[in-house]
Symmetry: C2
Subunit: 430 residues, 2 copies
């Protein structure tokens, strides 16, 4: 696919970057193309809570005139409304924080701007990055959920409104919306990306990541967020050897629907020469429960101000999660954290025989209806383990919505995971 | 020491709590006693950036009239100005944030208020919890540093202005000021206490904890912050058996000054029947360097907004730390995080033969001068390892300032560490 025949707003970031750097593509034109696409589609998709069009055009103009700033020079990006931005309000998807204007950028936002990215707007998050949905719809079918909690960031990238966006994951909030919207979602190794200025829910689980339309694009973003230049090294992709893939259906496989089972069968066939089955340690059967309890316990305590002073402004599902969390004893939580630490130790051994693991991302395609953002079941354990994950879209479900699978990497080996994901994605799409 | 003969403002929290609960002590009187002490001494000590006297008295009055709220019912507390408070400004010790009023309490603050504690004021932090000092002086000798970065919280408790206060540690910011001011400092296991609403510097290192004048007092605070009731269980202290103590001079022992060496000799003698030497794993020799690099790398990135937009408002030492951090490659950082994870795994084995480790807290007593808050050398490795630590004051240095040592516990075993610390502290002070 040559850049020449792709509409500007659909250009992949890694294709746009050299054109922008050589001034063969105008940063202002690229911002305009994205704004035009937003103007055309936003009434349907509702990906944004706030646009910063004038500031974005001014920044793009400045970037055109100045030196190349960094890896994201001239690329428009969107930011989940869970990240502070000094020039746009940040309300965390909650009426408690309506109109709140933070004094500073979240670290991840500042790092993207430093690398030359142009903030186009704040994207819809579910309420406080939990289960209660925002307004966003699935751009592939407006009656279906885009997933959550990073709903707007995934939908905007899927719909060609933006090449890149930021999100977070505590259970399945990056991988699930990436899967439902049919984009590449990247959850880095836990704590490789600074969380300063992002509303904190769970120290153990919260992870900053992002969305794009190709693995090479999330790798660009990942290099900026982690500060690890290896992630975006072109050689990492161009010379990538076939990875040794562990086929990891997980203990929750029985709950995978037809869409996911068919995508799995298709992938197994396409990757047969490079993949062998992998069995998880038996005690990991309990990790989904541990993740749920850790999330509830830590969220209930992180949101102490909100539950004590604004309980009536919290949705019923979030109130229920908080009630569950407060019912878990500190002793149980200490035991859960011990189980987490022990599982994180064991995780390293999964990668003795394999470079990456292939695993389900979701139960199936995006469910119909906007009352729920779907089930993060297949993401919970990987988030608890803190392992880097990349969602790869490559199939379609029964109703024509996107379906895919995730690749899981060894802790801290994000650059190898991304190279493998690029290789695998090419195979799956060919 | 009977409560009757202790001035109100010097009462230990665990002694005050039952009196407050039985209405034998008035919460208003206790707040007034602390405010009187502050009025008498604040011009010298300069522990506070902001007092909330009226609101504190109103809250105390309310608590007197209502039911017992929780473990800290009626106890005044102070909060390092790195934690957000909805009713007092929070400026992180930086001119960048002068006058900033957050919309919500940090989670740790809200948890203390929920348990009945009365916020008396915000205490001085060094600039952005780094090395550039605030105004606070050592209450034992005004020409000496109180330590940092939790300077005001440690000094206020030492001077009898408050029974309890909150702080954070990224290198040695709880244990060092506790040692210099002669109070008990408690750094919980990493990520046992929510960090929501606390200015984030380093995901890997930042830890919320607190100060008090006895182990039983920090245990009360710890139970509220962690949600683990075992920490404050009276039986935990009253029935505490003698712990098996590992004597751990650490690889940095050669840098301990006379004060610390004498305190060590005194402790070794007092604890001889229960203590045996412990040798750390040889690769841990490098942990101080790893901690420094992790702190510099993560701080430089967490403070991206500040370094990009307000560089001229950052102190020279903080600018230098940021420059150091930006010079560390993402690949080196990934290696450092791997070394950290591996050392955290090994740490468990230290506690096969010992319940707790005794280790130095500081080079010696608080240095003369207010230009530096002293060296966190002896805290760096324990912070990197994420292990719970309690500083115990029990000796005096050459110039009559407080000296002590820290006890280090197994990861997640905060309740056992606190019980052992209570036992050891009684021995050391008798």
């Amino acid at each position: 696919m040559s850049a020449t025949f792709t509409p500007l707003h659909r250009l992949e970031a890694w294709q746009a970057v050299p054109l922008l750097a050589r001034r063969e593509l105008s940063a202002v034109d690229l911002v305009r193309a994205c704004l035009d696409r937003i103007a055309e589609r936003e009434a349907q998709v509702q990906a944004f809570v706030q646009l910063g069009a004038d500031a974005a055009l001014a920044t793009a103009l400045e970037l055109e005139a100045g030196p190349v700033r960094g890896l994201l020079h001239g690329l428009p990006f969107g930011v989940k409304d869970l990240f502070d931005t000094f020039d746009l309000p940040t309300a965390y998807g909650s009426p408690i924080y309506a109109g709140r204007q933070p004094p500073a950028d979240a670290a991840a936002v500042a790092l993207c701007r430093e690398a030359g990215a142009v903030l186009l707007g704040k994207t819809v998050t579910t309420e406080l990055a939990n289960m209660f949905p925002g307004a966003t719809r699935n751009p592939h079918h407006l009656a279906h959920t885009p997933g959550g909690s990073s709903s707007g960031s995934a939908a905007a990238v899927a719909d060609g409104m933006l090449p890149l966006s930021l999100g977070t994951q505590t259970a399945g909030s990056l991988i699930r919306p990436a899967a439902f919207c049919g984009v590449v979602g990247y959850k880095p190794t836990h704590n490789r990306v600074p969380k300063a200025g992002v509303k904190s829910l769970s120290e153990t689980l919260d992870t900053v990541g992002g969305f794009a339309r190709s693995v090479r694009d999330v790798a660009l973003l990942g290099a900026v967020l982690t500060g690890d230049a290896r992630l975006a090294d072109p050689a990492n992709f161009e010379q990538a050897a076939a990875p040794r893939i562990g086929l990891c259906r997980t203990f929750e496989w029985a709950q995978a629907g037809d869409d996911t089972q068919q995508a799995w069968a298709q992938a197994e066939k396409a990757l047969a020469d490079h993949a062998t089955p992998l069995t998880l340690p038996v005690p990991w059967r309990g990790l989904v429960r541990v993740q749920k309890e850790v999330q509830a316990f830590e969220t209930a305590r992180s949101l102490s101000h909100e539950r004590l002073r604004y309980r009536e402004l919290l949705s019923a599902p979030l109130q229920a999660l908080i009630t569950d969390g407060l019912a878990i004893s500190g002793e149980t939580h200490a035991r859960n954290l011990r189980a987490t630490a022990s599982a994180r130790q064991q995780a390293q051994a999964l990668f003795d025989q394999h470079d990456v693991l292939l695993a389900p991302s979701t139960l199936g395609e995006a469910p119909r209806g906007l009352d729920s953002t779907g089930d993060p079941l297949f993401c919970r354990s990987w988030t608890l383990l803190g392992l880097p994950c990349v969602h790869l879209p490559f199939a379609r479900g029964r109703y024509g919505l996107p379906v895919g699978l995730q690749l899981v990497g060894a802790p801290g080996d994000d650059h190898r995971l991304l190279a493998a994901a690029h290789w695998v994605h090419q195979r799956l799409r060919s």
